[in-house]
Amino acid sequence: MGKAEQSALKEELLAKLVDELTLVNRKLSSLIELNEKMLKMQEKFLRVGSEKPPFGGELKLAPDVMTLLSLPPSLRKTAMVLLKLDKATAEDLARETRRLRPVESAYANQLVRMGYISKKREGREVYFYIESPMEIRK
């Protein structure tokens, strides 16, 4: 094979290689774009998941710290204690806030109606708790 032929072959191979790499690059770009879209959708899904409509006291939005700031001080205190205790009866809340149990019960139930917290009965006790929008293993 002559020198001219060798160089033509080299050029042809290089051109092929460039074409292939361009194709791979394009595919990678579209994969990255797709991945970003999926991440955004996942994020959106998680946000929507925590913002169910407040029909019948259903969970609307678990109170993050910025939401706490928008609550009246009396309710904010109850919600803050609940963040700390994870789950609590009105009596547990009253012990922490040093307010009366019926007062605490009224505030907690108001938070339930507003959709910020949930409550469940376990035996004779009623527990208030903040549902973790993204429950994670302990």
Partner: protein, 275 residues
Amino acid sequence: MRKKAISIHSSRGGTGKTVIATNLAAIYAVKGVNVALLDLDFCAPSLVDVFSKGISGSVKHWLNDFLDGRCRAEQALIDVSKAYGLKGKLLLGLANPSIEAIRNMMEKSRAWEVTAVKRLFSLRSRLFDAMDVYCCILDTSPGVQYMSVNAVVSSDIAVAVATLDSLDLKGLENMLAELYDAFAKRSVVLINKVFPETRVWSSDEQTDLIGKMEKTLKHRVIGVIPCYCDVLQAKRTSLLAVDKPYHPFLRNLEEVAEKLDGIKEVDMEEQVLAE
């Protein structure tokens, strides 16, 4: 000593939060108190570099992993007390400094933040109840950001660090009134980098300054620390409390630690909540 979580926060950057947080933690550990120091500045992590001498090998689990539920509290903490010859335990919770991790933290949703603050409370309980820790120091990012507010909310005492810069003080005034008081936090102010160390400063002058600051900020000022050039110029990997235990900066900080120990448990009824 009463168990407590202390957040170190400021309205703006460059007030010396990290130097104060790291040395405060070291002061406690030198005395034999078990301490945890958590880097909650996920946008600009620094403790991993400050303690690079004491961290052997690569970090397996970051605080990011704990908050994301990918590891247990114990796995996200590194004990560096032996490396620095400290009497008490010094447990570090480090923020991941990789750009990917920072980007990831910046994209977190409000839903995630609720879980994160709950996990911070659970970490606190774990440290106090199961790991024999007496003091947990939370080094935060400046300003009002989710994680810095999470840190303030989950602490017993919020220390707001400020310089005498007018913008800094204005920001602090707003933050104290609209954030700390709203959360009914036991909060105190620490003024840092006040005048050059070389300036002769009478105790009357100091009392005057504290009085003025307390009147303006309507919060207790627990310390006024001069601006020490060698502290500013020292390598960030140098832990003053270990390397220069007799430095006047540390004497100031030891007084602050004593005052912090004297602060009563948060009594929510005493707070300024206008109910």
